[in-house]
């Protein structure tokens, strides 16, 4: 339990808020490159700001405020130009920095345009995603996480918008014990109800959990009943990359899975599941898997009920039923919530760092450290012991339109 005021600090992400200022120090994913292949613009709302991502005539990407400062029409319907985008309403033109470069119907000797500008942010592409930096200059380096830079990988990316604050989703990632219940016993209960009384590896009891702050976030580890202390789950674990990413594998070397929780505003989060699979040298990848596949992850059925027969759907059910902003003044934490407490303290500490003029956790400015960031990741993970197909079909990857091809490929080449 915390106070209402401290809960607000942890959950308000808009411009000028302490959390908003902290989050603006990081590169934030805003789209997949494939989204701008057949169109010129994408409306993007991030950290409470309405923006438009666009591709100009020269192929360069830009990100500026969506609302035209003339009389407010949306630049998401704009006309791409050589070095910017033009408002469809009266033709005002803006460059990538958000400066107004042209007002075609004003007198030729007018300097009015030089007085007009909107926010404009730098963007960069990596691993098929487009990232924005909305903080003060100089921008840090865009972290080259292993999943983004690994070569010859098959990439599939699931996405959805959740009507909740990002913090409760991040707290879930510091709560290892929930897996035993939500993805274990609850899943088994559902199986039983369906007349299919199968046990799942997830229900194995936690003996202990541990959390360590490292260079890029927090590593969490678990020891399950029957495991020895030299098991990968306890020795290595996997990390939460500060401030909004969880890194889990998909079982085996050469599989990468990131869950990114991008705050749209205080009560909405863009959830992105970024999966990369490396089939290994000399393997013929079928055409259907050559291009990054972006797909929607559904979490409610036609009758409006949560879909809880897959792992991510179970998580989503709990996040959404906690309310749009979890009421932390009315919770009852126990000893298994120590990871959550650590995360909250880490956010407060990093907010302070930023206010003191320092770089927050995970900031990279040295290119020699940013070739490829190899994250600690357990390989022989007990939760994935049921094999690639079973695990892939029980996670949100089941909704990936090319999932069958993926499973078939790894059936033949094996997960390393």
């Amino acid at each position: 339990m915390i106070s209402e005021e401290q809960n607000r600090t942890l959950t308000q992400v808009g411009p000028g808020t302490p959390m908003g200022n902290l989050l603006r120090r990081y590169w934030i994913p805003i789209a997949a490159e494939v989204e701008l292949e057949r169109r010129w613009t994408k409306k993007v709302r991030v950290l409470g700001e309405d923006l438009v991502l666009y591709r100009d005539r020269s192929g360069k990407l830009g990100l500026i405020a969506e609302r035209c400062p003339h009389r407010g029409a949306s630049l998401a319907y704009g006309i791409p130009e050589e070095g910017g985008i033009r408002c469809p309403y009266h033709g005002w033109c803006f460059n990538h920095r958000g400066e107004c470069t042209e007002q075609p119907n004003e007198p030729a000797d007018s300097h009015f345009a030089t007085k007009i500008h909107v926010s404009g942010y730098p963007v960069q592409c990596l691993g098929g995603l487009i990232f924005a930096y909305m903080g003060p200059d100089p921008a840090p380096l865009l972290p080259r996480l292993d999943a983004f830079v690994v070569k010859d990988a098959i990439r599939v990316v699931g996405q959805t918008v959740l009507p909740v604050n990002f913090m409760q989703i991040m707290e879930n990632s510091l709560d290892p014990v929930h897996t035993e219940w939500l993805h274990g016993h609850y899943h088994e209960f559902l199986n039983q109800e369906m007349g299919n009384p199968v046990r799942v590896a997830f229900s194995r009891h936690h003996v202990k959990t541990a959390f360590d702050v490292f260079e890029y976030g927090i590593v969490k580890r678990r020891l399950l009943e029957g495991q020895s202390e030299d098991s990968d789950d306890w020795r290595i674990g996997h990390p939460v990359i500060f401030p909004f990413t969880l890194a889990v594998g998909s079982g085996g070397l050469g599989t990468y899975a990131l869950q990114m929780r991008i705050p749209i505003d205080d009560t909405h989060t863009w959830h992105v599941w970024y999966n990369a699979y490396v089939p290994g040298e000399g393997v013929e990848v079928p055409p259907s898997l050559k291009k990054l596949c972006l797909y929607e992850v559904p979490w409610k059925d036609e009758s409006g009920e949560f879909i809880t027969d897959y792992i991510d759907g179970q998580d989503i059910m709990t996040w959404v039923t906690q309310g749009s902003i979890a009421d932390r003044t009315d919770e009852h934490l126990g000893t298994t919530d120590k990871g959550i407490i650590l995360l909250r303290k880490l956010f407060m500490e990093q907010i302070r760092r930023v206010e003191a003029g320092e770089d927050p956790l995970g900031t990279i400015r040295d290119p020699s450290k940013n070739d490829c960031i190899v994250l600690p990741l357990e390989r022989k993970k007990h939760h994935f012991s049921e094999g690639f197909e079973s695990v892939t079909m029980r996670f949100q990857t089941r909704f990936c339109p090319v999932v069958r091809d993926l499973i078939e490929l790894f059936d033949s080449v094996g997960v390393r």
Binding site: M1, E4, E5, Q6, D330, T335, R352
Partner: protein
């Protein structure tokens, strides 16, 4: 403590919250919006896990239901 924080349904829980109203290291209030006081329970103990935004003190304040001490034999 923030009066809102008094609304715990756990009897007596927030009685101890006063114990975590001030930073044990620098004496300034822990109730400011960028510090953090998280209440949790360990068996019968109520614990306030704190972070002070002023001096960065980070630690626990424990409010136990009773004190158990060993009695020495004569």
């Amino acid at each position: 403590m923030n009066p809102d924080a008094q609304k715990s349904s756990l009897n007596g829980a927030r009685q101890g919250a006063g114990a975590a109203a001030w930073c044990p290291a620098c004496g300034r209030p822990l109730t400011d919006k960028q510090s953090l006081v998280v209440e949790y329970w360990r068996a019968d103990e109520v614990i306030y896990d704190c972070y002070c935004s002023k001096c960065e003190w980070n630690g626990e304040i424990v409010v136990g239901p009773r004190v158990v001490i060993a009695e020495y034999a004569d």
